[in-house]
C-alpha cells in the first residue's frame, strides 16, 4: 500500500511539473501575447479568414 502511494505521488508530481513546464514554455515563447494573432493562427492562405471551409457555405456566402 505504501509503495503504491509513493508511486502515485511520484506520478502526480511529475504531471504537475509537466503542466508547469508547458505553461512556462508557452509564456516564454510568447504564447499569451497578441491573442488576436493566436486566434487567427488557424487560418492560412488556403483557408483564409472570411472564407468558410464547409463547401456548401462557400457557395452560399458568395451568392
Amino acid at each position: 500500500m505504501f509503495l503504491a502511494s509513493m508511486i502515485l505521488l511520484l506520478v502526480m508530481l511529475t504531471l504537475s511539473f509537466v503542466t508547469l513546464l508547458a505553461f512556462s514554455q508557452a509564456a516564454a515563447n510568447g504564447g499569451f501575447e497578441n491573442p488576436q494573432a493566436t486566434a487567427e493562427s488557424i487560418f492560412d492562405e488556403a483557408e483564409p479568414i472570411g472564407e468558410p471551409t464547409d463547401p456548401n457555405l462557400i457557395k452560399k456566402y458568395d451568392s
Binding site: A4, V18, Q36, A39, S41, P52, T53, N56, I58
Partner: protein
C-alpha cells in the same frame, strides 16, 4: 469577402504559390493521418452502435425486468455497466483520441509520422475495450462505477495510450515556433489528464484498494473528472477549432478562451465530491466541492460567450452545414449541462435530485447532447478530408441528426422531470418505496423511446461511414448538403 492574413504585400503569383503550398501541406497532413485516425473513428462507431444496443436492453429492463433475464450474460447488473464502459471508453474515448490527433496534427502543421505505432495503438485500445466488455458480460466486473473493466483490460489501454501520448508530444515539440491555439491546450491537457485519472483511480480502487470509507470519494473524483477533464476538453477543442474554420471567422475573444481553459483546469478537479452530499464525510470536503462547482460558472460563461459571439451573424449557416449543426447543438448543450451541474451541486437541490433518474438525465446531457453531438460534427468534418471524398448521402446525415436530437431531448426532459417527482416522493417518509418505483415507470418507458431514437441515428452514421469507406465507386465530387436548395454548380472543395 476574403481577408488576407498576410500583412506584407505579395504579388498575385506569390499569393497563389503560397496557397498551393498550404494546400499541399494540408494534404500531406491528412494523408498521414488517414489510417490511424480513420481506425480510431471507424472503430468508435462500432462501439457506439454496440453500446447503444446494450443501453436499450438495460433501459427496457428498467420497466420490464423479465426482458432477457434468463441469460446470465444479459442480466441488468452486467448489461448496464457494459453499456456505460462501451460508450465511455469504446465510443467517446476512441473517437476523442482520433479527433484529437487529427486536430492536433492540423494545428501543429506536423504530419503524423507514427502511423504504425498509432495503428497498433488503435488495435490495442479496441482489444482492451473488447476484453473489458467481455469481462463485464461474463461477470468479472470490478463493481467500481466507471471502472468496471477487469484489471486484465487495463494493460491494453495503458500501452495504447502511451503510444498516443508519445505521438501527441512529438507533434507539439516539432510544431513551427509561435502560437499555441486554445484547442492544442485542451487536447494536450486531455491526453495527460485521462491516463492520470484512470490509472490513479484504478490503482487505488482496484489494484491496491484503499480502506472502504476512502473509496467513494476517489470513485467520484474519477467518475466526475472523466467527464470534465477528458470528454469536455476533447469536445471543447473540437468546438474551438470547427466553428471558426467552418464559418471562416476567428473566435470572438482569445483571452476568454484562455480564462476558460485555466479555470476549468483549476476548479473542475474539485467537483466530484458533491455526489457525496448527505454521506458520512467531513463537511469541509463536500463544501469545497460545492464551491468549486459554483465556480464552474466562470469557464462555462466564458466559453458560452465566446461560442455565441463567434456565431453571431452566421446562424443561417446552420441550415446548410451538417458539421456546424451538430457542433452548435453540442456547444449549447455544454452550457446547459454545466449550468445544471452547478445548480445541482447546491445542497437544497441535491436533497431532491440525489439517487434519482435526474442524475442519469444530467449525465446523458453531458455525455451525449454535448460530447457525442460535437464528436459527430467533428467526424462529419474530418472524414471527407481524410478520405478525399464526400459523404454519400445527405439524407442519412439528416436521419442521424433529427432522431438523435429529438431522442436526447425526450430522454433529458422527461427523465429529469421523472427524477424530480421521484426525489420529492422519496423525501416523504410515509410513501411506500414500491409506489415510487411504480410511479417512475411511465418516465422509464419514455427513456426507452428516446434511447431507441438515438440508436436509429447511430445506425445512420454507421451506414454512412462504412458506405463512404468501402464504396469506392462513389467519389462524391459534390459537397453533402442539408438543404435541398443546392447551388446549380458544385461548390469547390477545399482540397484539390
Amino acid at each position: 469577402m476574403t481577408v488576407e492574413i498576410q500583412s506584407e504585400p505579395v504579388t498575385p503569383d506569390e499569393a497563389e504559390q503560397r496557397k498551393q503550398e498550404s494546400i499541399e501541406r494540408r494534404l500531406e497532413i491528412d494523408r498521414a493521418a488517414r489510417w490511424p485516425v480513420g481506425i480510431f473513428i471507424g472503430s468508435s462507431l462500432v462501439w457506439l452502435l454496440f453500446g447503444s444496443l446494450l443501453a436499450i436492453a438495460a433501459s427496457i429492463k428498467m420497466h420490464d425486468p423479465e426482458f432477457l433475464a434468463d441469460n446470465p450474460w444479459l442480466t441488468f447488473g452486467r448489461v448496464r455497466p457494459a453499456h456505460l464502459n462501451t460508450v465511455a471508453y469504446g465510443w467517446l474515448s476512441t473517437a476523442g483520441i482520433g479527433i484529437g490527433l487529427w486536430i492536433l496534427s492540423r494545428l501543429c502543421q506536423v504530419p503524423i509520422r507514427e502511423q504504425q505505432s498509432l495503428t497498433l495503438a488503435a488495435v490495442l485500445w479496441n482489444l482492451g475495450n473488447a476484453v473489458g466488455t467481455w469481462g463485464i458480460l461474463r461477470g468479472d466486473s470490478t463493481a467500481v462505477e466507471w471502472l468496471e473493466y477487469p484489471t486484465y483490460a487495463a494493460p491494453f489501454l495503458l500501452i495504447s495510450f502511451t503510444f498516443v501520448m508519445l505521438a501527441a508530444f512529438r507533434m507539439i515539440r516539432n510544431r513551427p515556433p509561435g502560437h499555441i491555439y486554445i484547442s492544442q491546450w485542451y487536447i494536450m491537457a486531455g491526453f495527460v489528464w485521462l491516463p492520470a485519472l484512470y490509472f490513479t483511480a484504478h490503482g487505488l480502487l482496484v489494484l491496491a484498494p484503499v480502506q472502504a470509507p476512502a473509496q467513494p470519494p476517489i470513485n467520484w473524483w474519477y467518475a466526475h473528472n472523466v467527464l470534465g477533464l477528458w470528454f469536455t476538453p476533447i469536445g471543447l477543442e473540437a468546438i474551438y477549432y470547427l466553428i471558426p474554420k467552418i464559418i471562416g471567422k476567428p473566435i470572438h475573444s482569445y483571452y476568454l478562451s484562455i480564462i476558460g481553459f485555466w479555470s476549468l483546469a483549476f476548479f473542475y478537479a474539485w467537483n466530484g465530491m458533491h455526489h457525496l452530499i448527505g454521506g458520512p464525510y467531513p463537511a469541509w470536503l463536500i463544501t469545497v466541492s460545492v464551491v468549486a462547482s459554483i465556480m464552474m460558472f466562470i469557464p462555462v460563461i466564458t466559453v458560452a460567450i465566446n461560442h455565441h459571439m463567434t456565431m453571431v451573424g452566421n446562424f443561417r449557416a446552420l441550415r446548410y452545414s451538417p458539421t456546424l449543426r451538430f457542433v452548435v447543438f453540442g456547444a449549447m448543450s455544454y452550457t446547459l449541462v454545466s449550468f445544471q451541474g452547478s445548480i445541482t451541486a447546491i445542497r437544497e437541490v441535491n436533497y431532491v435530485t440525489h439517487f434519482t433518474h435526474y442524475t442519469i438525465a444530467h449525465s446523458h446531457l453531458g455525455a451525449y447532447a454535448f460530447a457525442s453531438m460535437v464528436y459527430f460534427g467533428a467526424i462529419y468534418y474530418i472524414m471527407p478530408r481524410l478520405l478525399e471524398r464526400e459523404w454519400p448521402s445527405r439524407w442519412l446525415i439528416r436521419f442521424h441528426f433529427w432522431p438523435s436530437a429529438i431522442g436526447i431531448s425526450i430522454y433529458f426532459f422527461i427523465l429529469s422531470w421523472g427524477g424530480i417527482v421521484q426525489g420529492m416522493a422519496m423525501n416523504l417518509s410515509d410513501t411506500p418505496f414500491m409506489e415510487i418505483v411504480a410511479a417512475t415507470i411511465p418516465y422509464l418507458k419514455w427513456r426507452t423511446i428516446g434511447g431507441t431514437l438515438m440508436t436509429i441515428g447511430h445506425l445512420s452514421i454507421f451506414i454512412s461511414f462504412f458506405w463512404m469507406v468501402f464504396d469506392r465507386r462513389y467519389r462524391g465530387a459534390e459537397p453533402t448538403l442539408f438543404s435541398t436548395k443546392t447551388p446549380e454548380t458544385p461548390a469547390p472543395l477545399p482540397y484539390p
